[in-house]
Symmetry: C2
Subunit: 325 residues, 2 copies
């Protein structure tokens, strides 16, 4: 942890304040150095009160993403979030982390951007990422899976993010296969899973995650208003992006651990319980082929099992699923 992360961590652990002398001792630096760092944090927007009696006290944190702050909030995780980087603007966080992946960065690294100029969704679609309004981030993983098994990660990421949203905002989301999260039929979270692999061996997986957090409804582009919403619009209040971000990393870490220890079936059960697709009539566009039928269940590896009008069961591993009315 960096000095800033340690200071923020100590301030959060001591609501009533902590003295400069205590901080200096804990951190092994001078009181003047503590003061200098506090001053820097204030410049970033952290409201830190100082009084002779109570010492330093964190009054409020700004709604910006700050790598040290995220690390301090996150606490211990097994894999995900031990290396966090925040960019003010990137083309796409998936591009940034892809480069890190090829440079040999360890799995669990996370890249956030306050805005993306070329955010991407599934099937080559554009993802709108307005500055500081949402969470636009990517997670690097290096699981021991074959390319055929990576659907597990798609399912796990939806489950983990759904839990994180419930924990932080109280909002219940519906999972739309494979991994969109919806509220009232409108999308709030999209996940793009990209991989680099040999035919039989995954090199790395990148989970690219977009969460619409603090947009007001009118801020969405006209063409998205009927199909997208934000957590703020649904909850009726501003959401702390830093709190949500760290809870998402924590829950992703937990579900990744479940997959790596062979407990995908637990994840799949939770996924099915939260899934709005199961039991519904769907149409699935797979390339040029259109399948219609009832989405009956999730297969062992995360594929969607669709009972067609002709009565036979189709395994759907990709494509574009639409819920029929």
């Amino acid at each position: 942890m960096t000095t800033d992360a340690k200071i923020l961590s100590a301030l959060r652990a001591n609501d009533d304040g902590v003295s400069g002398a205590q901080l200096a001792e804990q951190l092994g630096i001078s009181r003047a150095a503590v003061w200098a760092r506090i001053d820097e944090l204030r410049k970033l927007g952290y409201d830190i009160a100082a009084s002779p009696h109570f010492g330093y006290r964190l009054v409020s944190a700004p709604d910006v993403l700050h790598a040290d702050d995220l690390l301090a909030r996150l606490g211990e995780t097994k894999v995900i979030g031990r290396d966090i980087r925040v960019f003010e603007e990137t083309t796409s966080t998936n591009d940034v982390i892809e480069k890190l992946a090829r440079d040999g960065v360890k799995e669990g690294a996370v890249v956030f951007a306050e805005s993306q100029t070329k955010g991407r969704g599934r099937l080559g679609r554009k993802w709108v990422s307005p500055t500081r309004k949402g969470l636009w981030f990517s997670v690097l993983l290096r699981p021991e899976l074959s390319p055929q098994e990576t659907t597990q990660l798609t399912v796990a990421s939806a489950t983990a993010l759904r839990r994180a949203i419930k924990n932080v905002t109280g909002l219940l989301t519906d999972i739309k296969w494979p991994n969109d999260l919806l509220i009232g039929g409108k999308k709030v979270v999209g996940i793009l899973t990209e991989m680099s692999a040999e035919v039989d061996r995954v090199r790395h997986i990148i989970l690219g995650i977009g969460v619409d957090v603090n947009q007001d409804a009118p801020e969405f582009p006209v063409e998205l208003r009927k199909i997208a919403t934000s957590l703020k619009a649904e909850a009726g209040e501003q959401i702390s992006r830093a709190e949500l971000a760290t809870e998402m990393l924590r829950q992703l870490d937990a579900d990744y651990a479940r997959i790596c220890s062979g407990k995908f079936s637990l994840v799949a059960d939770e996924w099915e319980a939260g899934c709005a697709t199961i039991g519904k009539n769907v149409s699935v566009q797979m390339g040029t082929r259109l399948i219609r039928g009832c989405a009956e269940a999730l297969d062992d590896d995360g594929a969607l099992l669709v009972r067609t009008e002709h009565g036979h069961l189709e395994r759907v591993i990709g494509g574009d699923v639409t819920l029929e009315k």
Copy 2:
């Protein structure tokens, strides 16, 4: 086609010689310009005779790879080899073409290197690539396949390269699942198939191909002598690398066309006919798991079907296969 490619093409089409005036007319350049290009080709090692009576005549081509020459020899193909680049030395041709792929280069592009400093094999192994002794090249493809279907390309590439070797050298090779080519149990060709994909959609595939062509047996590192051989060592004569390279591209193009038009089963039949693994007892190391049994057949998608000692059929999509004695 570049001017050099057109000149070489015209020389090859006219064994008895072609006059400078004819060349100049065909190419739409001056006779002095023709002479200048011929001079450059000679510097590259092309032995081009010139006489007042017969004009220019190609006596011999050097054993170097020259992009224009390869293009001229190749002729028309559907997809593969319409863009050929040759490097004197690279880390790995897969690395070079991966970069081209991300820059949006069209499928079918091919990168050759006269030597590689970091040639790679399957499962992270090193591939030894001595200068001008073999063919070290990579092919970029953008097929409309899911990651689950890419085994088809692995199978097709082995089949195509086997045919090319037979056509050029007369040598018969055995296919070892999934795509090594062996002669007398020793490896002459290795293929590394890498992909970049979403969970349900391939972005691009890179076929990385290594062919041991003109090494003499004692040139192999001691640790490889029992398991590797070259086409020259087996055929007893020097092989034209340029001729072999273009025939390989031609056959890869043909099999890629078969896959893209949904005729994978034809490729699979040819693969099985040339495969030394089918009908043999094998052991397969898949991660930490060891499977033993008889390799019965190839599955629809290219997976190896192994009947285990316990009588049930295992689908093997990857891992390390060893033929048991």
